[in-house]
Symmetry: D4
Subunit: 164 residues, 8 copies
């Protein structure tokens, strides 16, 4: 069984999407990664979604830039929750990807996270899975505690820099 | 048990958020609605979240306009999935609410849906609940079929208008 | 044989798309109109394109608002020229539709025209058809002459208003 | 006979427009390239268009940045389909070129493609020519198949990177 | 002799451009008004400029909306100072007209004034003419004094409203 | 002694600025209101500031739209805290006023509040005065409690609407 | 007693916030610096504010990027004046932080300064403190004089560069 | 006699404003350059304008970034034509400077040129002066011819690059 499927529109998106993989790895969530294009390989996208559903997938993550249709097209083929990660591009700074991902029509939502913030797409997936998965829930509760500790560490870094 | 909690920043947001209530009603999802402000009543927000968690809430929806902090502040108090609905405002057209909702820092995601599109926040909540709730799953599968039929109806409307 | 296919995402888009129909009618171009949604009825979109191609379609026009994926999804299923008409929406003023239509990835272009300017999508279609269709070519040459005359008419309107 | 004419506003635009030339070369489409400015050499633009039309040109591509009037001015002199390529500039990131290219008035359409995406302008030109040119049609059908293969290659790149 | 030429792209622009006429009238500046389109009647634009120059025109004002090329195209045909008035449009709120007017390439400046602010285009024209026209100079000096008095009037209006 | 000075650029700004007056009235803060323009009456602005300082003014509020220089110009003439209220305008929705108010150079800050939100400018003024004025401090502490009660009232409004 | 509290959302914000520290140091204002996150450590934020108030804090400065809720969340816990510094981020260039900081709802103002301009946040704090602190007032009066001298220095730099 | 006065807000603006100086030098126009800040040295700005007017100045150029008030403040002190050059800044890409320069209120126009395009500010100044100065007129007529030749040169550069 694969719990999360990660789609990205191109191999050049991997630098942005790697953080999602790291977060899922830390939590012990199983996942698969596919490069697939809403426009260049529409059938492949559809086929991979069907197979993923049969394989027990619970959440789908999709990262894309430009006229980022990937998350929306995936959402049109499944009722699994689909999380969209808009990726920045030269020139328009990612406003295109953000709007093309979030402004979905009534009936087909995409759960959009921040620009290039694939880590948050993975954490949102874990939070969704945690509703029926005790291990994921424990992980997230602990994750939040660590988050607080990291802030203290960062605070100490600043105090050190000020004392130099 | 209440499955979904709907927060809104003001009673004037109700016109936008009513569609979420309608969608949850149709699916038979239990919900509660609270007006609460991230800035004016921060303690109330926190208390309502704790009570909701104890009450079995699975998903939280938050609609707000302007510097829309509500969804983000809620997300900081819980590991339940939080869905943000940016609401349009005069002048800047809702760009403020969209960016203030979606651009959350690493660690605390908000699942953002389209501008004023509270119907999609409810549908996303149902899709999340459907992962462990057979009735919700059936509902969504049927919903998507109806969506297709509605498109055919709209097509027929256009053909009628053209034939006039 | 149907020369041009006009897609729109909803019957509410008809008010914007009607001008395209008028322009095609004046030129005597044959066309069909379909309401179809990239997200709600992806299979229907694909099937209509295949049938249109078999039916001899030469150009496809697609008008949509919000995260306007319709033109891009159509373009992914055909090598016919696809013309996208971004439609304005409340709040973000249509910037979402413009960017989601025009910023297509390398390999799958959409010929985008101005915000809500479906008349221009029809005229562009006629200009494309005119490359191998003498009647359409004559029509466009004449259309441009009339355009010049209309400007003179508008000039006279202003002079009249000034003389009041 | 020259099938496609490529205009650019300055020699500094060549880095962006080179991809169009490459795509036309691969397809065996004949083309000519001109640097010409809508504002600095308006007569030259007009003269080149007239000569191109006499020479059998079928599609005109125009790339420009800033207040990018080049495509629109060309479109005002011909009924050949004109494809506009907005080019990014410092500061405003190309929003100026996008809007100045796409927002043409009723009567004079410019088929606008994505920011700096001259490859897509060439592919759109080939798709238009393919309507009456069997060789171009075959090329595009094959191009789309290759596009699908490239996505598989990119997928394999990502899998390799993940296995490192 | 006609001192100022006012161009507008359409008769529907007259509502915005009327304020320019009023300001010129008050100062006693001679002017002519033309509806002419950079795209629909490029030759007419050029011809009118040549005639205006022969007729002694000193400043040209051009108001246009959308991909507002009118001022720029005029500027390419003359070395008279050209003042551009971007006009607001539905959807994008006039950002298209502003950027298409102001972002001219090196060599061909357009003196751009605020959105729909044709009064300021006339005042700028008068300020330019005032450099060699004592009557216009006197008018402007007096105009500024009146401007100060108007502010006092507006102040009194507010005080009255507060005392109600 | 006058504690707060309210400037506005025009009498038409009064509709937006009235809320500031109401808030100051409720708290019992003394104030004066002036219409004055940074551009039309620069000397008047300077003179009023000097008089206000001599009169004991503690905080200055300035509301303006368009290229909103008023707050910045006031700030250049005084070291009293200056609060800027950007006012929305047609077309660009107030983005011009927001940026022209907030993006002040190093050395001359303007404390900018939200679009058209003059109530907040008054409340910020009271919070500043409360640092050395016990009555104002008490007022603000009570104001915040009332704010919480208003949220409960709004909550009850929504519950009532839902029960209809 | 600590007069000013500086919050920042992360240690990576220190590069932007350092200028505030420098300005406070020069004036001899006492301050404390905390890294604290509105979302990751909401309780810590609240606790630090309470302690700061007991410690005599007069002004709070908060710098944050992205969906910058920090200043707003702080403002919801105190009636001390809160100054927000929006920090730029990749992609959207800081528009997210600016809007999320400035567009606060009625009742809870944040005094927003320019993008990344933490120096101005410190100067605004000093101007506020100067209302009841003669030393700070003297400092600001002198600071403004020095500002004028710096402009003369910069003028001389330009003249030197021109004479090379 | 000095024909043109160039103001800039800071010595760091010189890199952008140098092109204006070059263009004036080539034409033999006399000019003076001042660093002066609308906010830091308002009196100096006013004094320099008065002196410039007495000295025979005909046109004033002002370049500034951020909340670029410099051109507007200058325009409020003189009836000479004032040309504004918005300069780009980090983060918001110069949109702040563009809007703060161009959106002047009725009565006080600023002739705004493109982002950082100080060359065009000088050329516009020369075009204005050419109305009563035969030497400047000859220069501009010749300049335009050279502009055409430069386009041919750029064309040849592209042809050379293509033949490599």
């Amino acid at each position: 069984m694969t719990q999360v499927i990660i789609f990205m529109g191109s191999d050049s998106d991997f630098d942005y999407m790697e953080a999602a993989i790291e977060e899922l790895d830390k939590c012990g969530i199983t996942y698969e990664v596919f490069v697939a294009s809403a426009h260049r390989t529409p059938e492949r996208v559809k086929k991979l979604i069907t197979e993923s559903e049969e394989n027990g997938a619970e959440v789908i993550i999709a990262g894309a830039g430009g006229a980022a249709h990937l998350a929306g097209v995936i959402a049109s083929h499944t009722i699994l929750p689909v999380i969209g990660v808009p990726l920045p591009t030269l020139g328009l700074g990612g406003a295109d990807a953000l709007l093309a991902t979030v402004q979905m029509p009534r009936g087909i939502p995409v759960a959009t996270v921040g620009m290039g913030n694939s880590a948050n797409s993975a954490l949102l997936a874990i939070q969704i899975i945690a509703l029926h998965n005790e291990k994921a829930k424990k992980y997230m509760e602990n994750y939040r505690l660590q988050l607080k500790e990291k802030v203290i560490k960062k605070h100490n870094n600043v105090i050190k820099r000020m004392n130099k």
